[in-house]
Symmetry: C3
């Protein structure tokens, strides 16, 4: 069994953003040399997500509006967590809806994807350096 590990770094200039990281995960897979196995891609921070969906800007606006409706940023006093001096409680909630991680099958050295699957980093509390972990096991 082989394993490969890589960190992807982000410094999103806005509070929230969705970034297509598929090319960077594909690059990690090539570096690993693994042909058959599983690829874990997870946010290493608890106010961010990794998820798979469509690379369509209208949909990303819909996600933004919908998540803001489900877990509004303001008023920040509505959240107990923000009494610690934080203002990011909503980001911890939004990340649960979108998820922490994805697992992608590796088949014949490729990400084994359906026709429209793309991997996204979902940032909900940006403006600082944060990381995503790629861990691939197989052979």
């Amino acid at each position: 069994m082989k394993s490969y590990r890589k960190e992807l770094w982000f410094n999103v200039p806005t509070r929230r953003a969705f970034i297509n990281i598929t090319p960077r995960v594909m690059e990690a897979l090539r570096e690993s040399g693994i042909q058959e196995g599983l690829c874990l891609v997870n946010a290493m921070h608890i106010t961010a997500s990794v998820f798979i969906n469509d690379d369509e800007s209208g949909l990303h606006r819909d996600y933004e509006d919908w998540l803001e409706d489900l877990a509004p940023h303001e008023p920040i006093e509505q959240y107990s967590h923000n009494r610690t001096g934080e203002d990011n409680a909503d980001a911890h909630l939004k990340r649960q809806v979108m998820g922490r991680e994805v697992i992608v099958a590796i088949t014949e050295g490729r990400l084994d994807f359906g026709p429209w699957e793309q991997i996204f980093y979902g940032e909900f509390d940006g403006r600082r350096r944060k990381r995503v972990l790629v861990k691939i096991i197989g052979e």
Copy 2:
């Protein structure tokens, strides 16, 4: 390390449905011959889910009503994504709540399940051919 890959195909005649795919995943596991490992089951389409919960029709009605309340299909104009000519933005949202994939432990050649766990395909934009990927690694 062994690996096994199988696609399960669906053509759901309605827009939305929940289908118990546990027997089909068990069949894939038998075909694989794998005794110890991990089994990934994921929707290959971004308007569908794979999730684990109870095979109880009342609960499935509750999921349907609840998801429609969280992310209504209509009015379709409320979603930016639908300006591309689609009418399935709500399906992309519903799928995030229910999830893209599950990972099931394989122990002694069986799906290592608790007493009521069953695997479902959740269709949110049916009436066409769509796929689920089963990928098993182990030995």
Copy 3:
């Protein structure tokens, strides 16, 4: 390839609770002797979650309030599932938001975590014995 399996048992005295299980997962990892691989941690019951987030009591109150708002326990008659004699339909819904499972990378014999990641058992229908499965594969 090595594999290791362990069940963690819970008997939460209240209906709902969040319990930090990171030390118990770390103990299972030590017992496994696995240095590189993947660790699956999943609820074996369909009214409970395993998720990764912050060990901060204010945030846990926020999760409790938010989930109760998204999927209220009462009135219990609002759910078709509860006509079976159950009163836990809301727990099946809450668990979908928080998720069934997490996968954690194992690197150099450690849970490969970001700075604040902790693993929680989320109970939404307690007051009875329930289990979490830890399955580790690697070498």
